[in-house]
């Protein structure tokens, strides 16, 4: 009799395509998982990791492509179906009942009964057995789940997933992002034990060093395409980062010329100075100087503290250490409004959640911050609003049917331009641009990059944050590199890519 599963693979996804309106999320991606391996799935934001996982767990249907489970082709119809097939997912946010006991959480829906009532003694006993057998941990299962640390809660979620759904495939979606170093080690211990029991684990994380500590193989996805699957041990950290960041082939030579000429106008007195500015748990104390006419690149991987630093400068949070000086004055009031009034603005990373007000028109979105500066009662006249909006639609080349079109009807790139217009209309002195080109087509990307440089030429100071290292290098006169929520180095704009990557990886080659 032929072996029904000659490859011995637990999961094999072949040629997966998936598109959403306006986005090609996955383009012919292959992915496989062996029994008893920990397989890291890496890629920047929007690379397509989560779409791939959603297809494997039945949340999304692929446009085309095949999924094999244990050698048999399957169609995963729904998350529930995926569980029945033995695929379990533990998400970053734990979906257990924090106000029930550990035992109840593990055995909910199949509690042992006795005389029509729950047999608590037996339930606790069973739950205890499961935890010891599956995870090798011993805790008081009659305690309320919420009283345990996040790591333990996560393990309980894993125990439930593995025991109740008898899963052979376990997907861990950024399980360590809210764990301490010690808790992470606990979780890794459990993962190694599961690996010994022939469970296949897909491990999604942004932490490079964890990939090296725990995973056997690593698959990198970029812009919806498979970059490759590698044995972790044979792939250097640098090589991995290179593969994640990628190189877009574009004609940006002229940009470096512009950069060189604008670089001559950089002012001598810094406009923004931070001295040990930090917020516990968000950003380690950081020293930064920003000069007028300069573009300061902020490089680093996702989760390295770039956006948090931007948020501190903009006053989204109030720092608990250090000082911030803008235009020579020490900042005491931290709020977006106060920042706006001192001429420091931020275009946020998450365009949809914190950027556009999607039901308001293009005109209203553009004049919003300008109006905030004017206050409640000095309302810009309709005519003035039209003038301002028209001007920026023209300068930035915003493609919109009319100024009274709701901004939600615009493409992502044009929405990004609207947010830029909103802040430019307030004539700021300092612009912080957090991932201004994410999810935007190459042409618009180049436009925005040029715009940033021309703003610097006008004497404005810019902080440019991007996950694409090449883009940061192209636009910045100076680059600060962040890793693990602290600034790990500062480089001139023409620094070697290799040196930057080394710094991003945490200083190791």
């Amino acid at each position: 009799m032929p072996d029904p599963n000659p490859s011995g693979l637990l999961v094999s996804m072949q040629g997966i395509y998936k598109s959403f309106p306006g986005v090609q999320a996955l383009i012919g991606v292959d992915f496989d998982l062996r029994p008893g391996e920990i397989h890291a799935l890496m890629g920047g934001n929007g690379a397509g990791k989560s779409t791939l996982i959603k297809i494997l767990t039945g949340v999304e249907k692929p446009d085309s492509g095949k999924i094999f489970l244990g050698g048999r082709e399957v169609v995963v119809r729904s998350p529930k179906h995926a569980q029945a097939l033995g695929i379990s997912t533990v998400y970053q946010e734990i979906n257990l009942c924090a106000n029930l006991t550990v035992a109840e959480n593990i055995l909910i829906g199949r509690q042992p009964m006795r005389f029509g009532a729950i047999d608590w003694k037996r339930m606790n006993q069973q739950a205890n057995e499961i935890l010891v057998r599956v995870l090798g941990i011993e805790i008081d299962v009659s305690r309320i789940l919420g009283t345990y640390s996040v790591a333990i809660q996560q393990m309980v979620a894993i125990a439930r997933a593995l025991e109740i759904e008898s899963a052979r495939v376990l997907i861990l979606d950024e399980p360590t992002s809210s764990l301490s170093a010690h808790e992470t080690e606990q979780l890794f211990e459990v993962m190694r034990r599961l690996r010994g029991n022939q469970v296949g684990i897909v491990f999604i994380t942004h932490f490079i060093d964890q990939v090296y500590r725990i995973s056997d193989r690593v698959t990198v996805i970029r812009n919806g395409r498979l970059v490759g699957t590698y044995e972790t041990a044979s792939l250097g950290k640098m090589a991995l980062i290179e593969k994640m960041i990628g190189r877009t082939i574009t004609e940006f030579d002229e940009m470096s010329k512009i950069k060189a000429t604008t670089g001559e106008h950089i002012g001598a007195e810094p406009i923004v100075t931070t001295d040990d500015l930090g917020l516990t748990g968000d950003v380690e104390p950081i020293d930064l100087k920003l000069f007028p006419g300069e573009v300061l690149g902020l490089a680093g991987l996702v989760g390295s503290g770039r956006s948090e630093t931007a948020g501190l400068l903009f006053g989204l949070e109030t720092p608990d250490s250090g000082t911030l000086r803008v235009a020579g004055k020490e900042v005491t009031r931290f709020s977006p409004y106060a920042s706006l009034m001192r001429g420091l603005v931020l275009t946020p990373e998450d365009r949809k959640a914190t950027g556009v007000v999607d039901d308001l028109t293009v005109r209203e979105n553009i004049i919003l911050a300008l109006q905030v500066g004017q206050g409640w009662f000095r309302f810009l006249s309709r005519q003035r609003q039209m003038e301002v909006a028209e001007r920026y639609v023209e300068i930035l080349g915003i493609a919109t049917p009319s100024l009274d079109t709701p901004v939600k009807n615009l493409s992502g790139g044009n929405q990004q331009k609207v947010i830029l217009a909103r802040w430019l209309a307030t004539n700021p002195q300092v612009l912080i641009l957090d991932e201004p080109t994410r999810g935007i087509d190459v042409g618009t990307k180049a436009e925005i990059q040029k715009l940033v440089l021309s703003l610097a030429e006008e004497g404005k100071a810019c902080i440019f944050i991007s996950s694409e290292l090449e883009e940061v290098m192209r636009c910045s006169h100076r680059i600060a590199v962040m890793s693990d929520r602290r600034k790990v180095g500062e480089f001139p704009g023409d620094a070697e890519e290799k040196a930057l990557m080394q710094a991003m990886a945490g200083g190791e080659a």
Partner: protein
């Protein structure tokens, strides 16, 4: 035409058409002493309290919230006003010269303008309380305003020591019963509407309210003081409820803490929903559409009475109306209407 006005006007038209078929001479209007009377005018007059409530409620719902306490705030303001005009009612024993004053139609303890001012102040404080819970303590609007909805009637009872104070002062009664060609309360609605419209649409406040309702987080990132905007909306809502309380108590000439404004919060919310402001999500709002929504709600009530539906069954019928409205406003119904429209256009 403003698309927000289309549905409420259509609904109102349908109900009035229905009424005119039911009640002979529904649209006829008589003149007496230069004043206008008739079924249609009655509907508008009876709608005035809901209309006042719906103005404030529109702003609150536009910020993404809701205010369940407006009915209770009406009761509180009725109690405050009645007590200020006639505190002697609560005294155990009174000398004869004061006893006579109790039902003197020309007597008031405090001048009318003081009564109105203090009442509206108290109502605004009620609104500020709600706004504080929602914007600063970050309690869900429905839960936050539920507190005052429950406690408010108790407070109203406390103010009058549990006594239902009859109001004899005639000038006060004019607020609810007066007539100057049209019912006085309708002028009040017009004034409040005009002031609110100007102060939201001729300032940036309206746009900020909409912005906060659509995306509070993005509004905060744009520098809008999202909390203060919410506080303002609830304060205005409280003020409007105070006015509605004055009208309602003047109309029945008593402070009835148990019954004034009872379930009016639901009518006001529905009026706003009919006006096209989205409950729960907030965002774009139209004050005028809400006013028409308020008339729709009153017209439904009136036609139910005309049909002979007993008062106790009224709420059940209103429930049916709610379902109808929700269906009518659903995306499915809209796309169905759109498809019907295009088919007709396509037909030769």
């Amino acid at each position: 035409m403003d698309s927000k006005l289309f549905f409420p006007i259509m609904l109102l038209g349908l109900i009035l058409l229905f009424d005119s078929a039911l009640v002979p001479g529904f649209f006829s209007i008589q003149t007496r002493d230069g004043n206008l009377y008739g079924s249609l005018i009655d509907i508008f007059r009876n709608a005035s309290t809901i209309m006042l409530l719906s103005i404030g409620m529109t702003l609150v719902i536009a910020t993404g919230g809701v205010d369940l306490s407006v009915g209770a705030v009406m009761a509180i303001s009725a109690s405050v006003a009645a007590l200020m005009m006639n505190p002697y009612v609560l005294a155990k024993e009174l000398p004869p010269h004061l006893l006579r004053l109790i039902n003197d139609p020309n007597f008031t303890f405090q001048p009318l303008w003081v009564v109105i001012l203090v009442t509206l102040l108290v109502a605004t404080v009620c609104g500020l309380w709600n706004g504080m819970l929602v914007a600063y303590v970050r309690i869900q609007p429905m839960v936050a305003t539920l507190i005052l909805m429950i406690a408010g009637r108790g407070i109203a009872q406390l103010i009058t020591n549990g006594v239902r104070i009859q109001i004899f002062y005639e000038p006060y009664a004019y607020i609810g019963q007066g007539w100057a060609i049209l019912p006085f309360s309708l002028y009040l609605v017009a004034i409040v509407y005009a002031i609110t419209w100007v102060s939201t649409r001729r300032t940036a406040i309206g746009m900020f309210i909409e912005s906060v309702g659509i995306n509070a987080r993005a509004s905060f990132f744009s520098g809008i003081n999202e909390r203060r905007i919410k506080l303002l909306a609830y304060a205005i809502c409280g003020l409007c409820a105070g006015l509605a309380g004055l009208v309602a108590s003047a109309n029945i000439k008593t402070s009835d803490a148990n019954n004034i404004g009872l379930t009016y919060e639901l009518d006001a919310i529905l009026a706003v929903v009919i006006g096209g402001t989205v409950l729960g999500a907030g965002g774009r709002f139209s004050l005028l559409a809400s006013l028409i929504g308020a008339v729709v709600m009153q017209a439904v009530t009136t036609s139910m009475y005309a049909l002979g539906v007993p008062a106790f069954a009224l709420q059940a019928i209103k429930g049916l109306v709610v379902i109808l409205v929700i269906l009518l406003y659903s995306d499915q119904a809209r796309s169905l209407l759109r498809r019907l429209g295009t088919r007709q256009e396509a037909a030769p």
